[in-house]
């Protein structure tokens, strides 16, 4: 069951060996002026698995996601996302879901979800009819034509996630997707996300400052240090996704792993 894979910055080679590489980072560094944000980041994410990245805030987690997504280029090191190394090609393979839902207030929930299709030149009516059926599955039936201002925080986040899925990218980058929600809604959304991700195999990189969330939602958890961000520990989580949350969270394995992660963060 869950165990520590490898410690102190070494790569989880045994994990990466199985299956083709989804995301592959080697000695990735990034600085903004004098500020070194990331320093020598190494890790591999097997295709169609879920990796959580935890670390203190200000540790460059979002920067790391932006680099993987192709929104930024690293100053040094290698980034490979399913064979794509250039920023533009990475951008074509990744969809980013930010912490804030970033729904466009003038578009209805449905028209927010279709935006990636419209960006690709699909007509509005075609994009709508393709996206509409998904609303029921996301617990958003009847809310297709409602503007974001009338939706609750959890629903807005679901529309935001739906929009990311409709983009139909193989790699999903989730940047603190539930950071802005209250803890009850957040727990519901975590369970919901696991179910939603179970339907479609995707490579998922989940950034969070919540260790519990990372352990619950990912197979592997990468612990980053405070700035400059380095990989300080890689933990294998992979808890069953169908068991009741309370049972998992109180199990000795979970508690021990959480302890290890917190200790690594320092």
């Amino acid at each position: 069951m869950p165990a520590e894979v490898s410690g102190n910055g070494s790569r989880p080679s045994d994990v990466a060996a199985g299956g083709d590489v989804g995301i592959h980072l080697r000695s990735v560094s990034k600085r903004f002026g004098e500020l070194v944000v990331l320093h020598g980041i190494d890790f591999d994410v097997p295709r169609h698995s879920r990796i959580g990245i935890v670390g203190p805030s200000g540790g460059g987690k979002s920067t790391l996601l932006h680099i993987v997504a192709g929104l930024l280029e690293p100053d040094a090191g290698e980034v490979n996302v399913e064979g794509a190394t250039g920023a533009k090609d990475r951008l074509a393979r990744c969809a980013l879901m930010p912490q804030r839902d970033l729904l466009l207030p003038w578009r209805t929930a449905l028209d927010n979800a279709t935006i990636a299709l419209e960006n690709r030149g699909v007509s509005r009516s075609e994009a709508r009819s393709r996206t509409r059926p998904l609303f029921g599955r996301f617990g958003l039936a009847m809310f297709e034509d409602v503007r974001p201002a009338q939706l609750s925080g959890g629903m807005r986040q679901r529309v935001s996630f739906l929009r990311t899925l409709v983009a139909d990218k193989d790699v999903l980058l989730l940047d603190e997707p539930f950071g802005a929600l209250d803890s009850i809604t957040r727990a519901q959304m975590q369970e919901w996300l696991l179910r939603a991700l179970g339907d479609v195999p995707r490579t998922v990189l989940l950034v969070t400052h919540d260790v519990e969330e990372a352990l619950l939602l990912s197979k592997i958890v990468v612990v980053l240090s405070a700035r400059p961000g380095r990989v300080v520990r890689v933990l294998e989580a992979g808890f069953p996704t169908d068991a009741p949350r309370r049972e998992i969270v109180t199990s000795p394995e979970f508690v021990a792993l959480k302890e290890k992660a917190l200790e690594a963060i320092g």
Partner: protein, 280 residues
């Protein structure tokens, strides 16, 4: 509720899209909002009337509101055609300013180097007082409608451009990043995020412009014309027809208010998602 687990419904699943307010409710909230403004205006008018009547103020110094109303009736044959002339200048000038203002804001926003080159000139141009520009324009374009349109457009253009550029630039970078990961082109980002997001700013520029437009038209008419409310005022002054001047002012105010109202109405139609500005 005897068998089986209860269905798991969170509170938000029970939310139903809110109903639109009924017409009656809207009317009530409208009258509540404007009641104080109407009451204050009436009180001021009554006070004005009393001061003039009880103080025996001569009409050529300050006419009473009732005298202005009476003059509106007797001078209607002069005022109405003049109002139509001024209205045409105001509306056309405003439309020209809006088209040019929105167009220039968009072009300057999309081409950064051009914005940096043009923006200082744009601001510099605003430091030239329109009052001194007006006679030159009359010399250039004559006594017709053209110099008035130029002056109205020049006055109205600036707030629309400046507000518009600010609105276009104030779009959150996170939205732009999000759009890039959803395969948007630069044009797609402009069309789907920046422009709709800047609409409220464009409209606030247009509302400021709407209040300036009538001033511009009167300036233009004062500098050289043979028609319009400004011309009526200019003619009435040496004859001490103060009441007629006030009647002309009243009609100018009505033009401005109607234009302002039309812009606000257009905003409600074009920007239905924006939080309503409370006037109370």
């Amino acid at each position: 509720m005897s068998a089986g687990a209860p269905p798991q419904l969170s509170e938000e699943d029970l939310l139903v899209p809110a109903a639109r307010p009924t017409l009656g409710r809207r009317l009530r909230s409208f009258s509540r909002k404007y009641l104080s403004a109407v009451a204050l205006t009436l009180a001021l008018l009554v006070a004005w009337e009393l001061i003039v009547r009880l103080g025996h103020v001569p009409e050529y110094l300050l006419p009473a509101p009732t005298q202005i109303l009476a003059d509106l009736k007797t001078d209607w044959v002069i005022l109405w055609p003049a109002m139509l002339v001024t209205l045409k200048e105001v509306v056309l000038g405003f439309v020209i300013a809006t088209v040019a203002g929105v167009g220039l804001a968009v072009v300057l926003h999309l081409y950064g180097p051009l914005r940096r080159a043009v923006y200082p000139i744009l601001i510099g141009s605003q430091t030239i007082p329109i009052v001194v520009l007006a006679p030159i324009l009359v010399i250039l374009f004559g006594y017709g409608i053209l110099p008035k349109l130029v002056i109205v457009a020049l006055i109205c253009f600036f707030p629309i451009v400046v507000n518009g550029i600010d609105g276009l630039r104030s779009v959150d970078d996170d939205f732009i990043r999000m759009m890039y990961t959803l395969d948007a082109t630069r044009w797609g980002i402009f069309r789907r995020v920046e422009f709709p997001g800047a609409l409220p700013s464009f409209f606030s520029g247009m509302r400021i412009a709407a209040t300036f437009a009538a001033i511009g038209a009167v300036f233009g008419e004062w500098s050289g014309s043979n028609a319009g409310l400004g011309y009526v005022m200019l003619e009435a002054t040496p004859n001490l027809l103060t009441t007629r001047i006030f009647a002309a002012i009243l009609m100018l105010t009505v033009i401005s208010l109607v234009l302002f109202g039309l812009v606000s109405l257009l905003e409600r139609i074009a920007v239905p998602w924006a939080p309503r500005r409370e006037s109370g």
